[in-house]
């Protein structure tokens, strides 16, 4: 007997993600899923953002990592609540892991929640977490052909942060061509060229964040 199923394989994850989203909404939290290759600057961007917004808004961080807790310790030093998820080898966070992390996060004390995903440009694109915004960080040393190699990630992103622009003088990286390629496939995407090292462009990024929060 043949049974028509026609069901998304990731349906179960999507349902949990929807519940996370409701939970975050009821607590008035804006959640941002940060995705990138390893070393592109997810932790650095969180630190740079905390530095600028400290005292203005209450930030919380969920740190996803395959095994270590280094990033969680670094961010914890900034005095913001941090919950660490060890994925136990999985190459991406899923909605269930985030749901567990949310139970350990003091949500009434959080207005902006960063979720640092596992460093990987393929798998995190498929797993919704319940976040409000998906932010992809692509850094200069990775090259300007990344959008062509990982189209799904660039297609689903709400924001692309081009990090490490302080390295522009030393690298062959065509920022305009890169931005044009992304905008071609993803019309609505916002692009922020940033250097977490020098702080250049960070202001534009944090203004955007504040603007997203005031709209809720």
């Amino acid at each position: 007997m043949e049974i028509k199923v026609l069901k998304d394989i990731l349906d179960a994850n999507k349902q949990i993600a929807a519940r996370n989203r409701q939970w975050l909404d009821s607590e008035g939290v804006l959640a941002v899923n940060l995705m990138s290759s390893p070393g592109a600057g997810k932790t650095s961007l969180i630190l740079a953002t905390i530095k600028q917004l400290k005292g203005k808004i209450k930030i919380g961080v969920i740190e996803g990592d395959v095994s270590s807790s280094l990033d969680a310790e670094t961010v914890g030093k900034e005095g913001v609540p941090v919950v660490q998820i060890n994925t136990g080898g999985e190459c991406h966070l899923d909605a269930n892991m985030v749901s567990n992390a949310l139970s350990n996060m003091p949500l009434p004390d959080v207005e902006l929640l960063f979720i640092e995903n596992v460093g990987n440009l393929i798998c995190p694109a498929s797993f919704a977490l319940g976040e409000h915004k998906k932010v992809l960080i692509s850094s200069l040393p990775e090259g300007d052909d990344k959008p062509f190699k990982y189209p799904l990630m660039f297609d689903i992103a709400d924001v692309v942060v081009i990090n490490k622009i302080d390295l522009l003088p030393y690298l062959k990286f065509d920022t305009d061509a890169f931005s044009r390629a992304i905008k071609g496939i993803n019309k609505k995407v916002k692009i922020f060229p940033i250097s977490c090292a020098t702080g250049q462009g960070v202001q534009e990024w944090t203004s955007w964040l504040l603007n997203q929060m005031s709209r809720r």
């Binding site: 007997m1 049974i3 199923v5 394989i9 190459c91 991406h92 498929s126 905008k183």
Partner: protein, 113 residues
């Protein structure tokens, strides 16, 4: 690793559907996989054999239909297959494109006994 989590979700879905009709055995599973999902058919088979052991889906045949990445040009409206490293419309050289397929990841049907 990506495939492991997804194969588990797929198996859960299949067993749930088979359970609804009180099937004794799952013979075949038809999957539809978009090229963009970064999902490799061989890996699915590998994990499936591992995960389905001892379930009613053990030994089932997996059939994967791969869907290529296609786009529609926002300038001239034509549909075409999107090739890596070339995001330009082959008809008008436009580069504002809307992806129309390639993100699929679903169970189309199952054959049960």
């Amino acid at each position: 690793m990506h495939e492991l989590a997804i194969t588990q979700s797929m198996l859960d879905l299949v067993l749930e559907q088979a359970g609804k009709v009180e099937a004794k055995e799952v013979r075949k599973i038809d999957l539809v996989i978009g090229e963009m999902s970064g999902f490799v058919a061989e890996c699915v088979q590998f994990y499936f054999d591992l995960l389905s052991k001892g379930t009613i889906a053990e030994g089932a045949t997996l059939s994967c239909t791969m869907i290529p990445t296609r786009a529609r040009c926002r300038s001239c409206g034509k549909l075409f297959e999107l090739k890596q490293f070339d995001w330009t419309c082959p008809y008008c050289q436009g580069n504002s494109l809307e992806i129309t397929s390639g993100k699929e990841l679903f169970v189309e049907s199952i054959e049960v006994e």
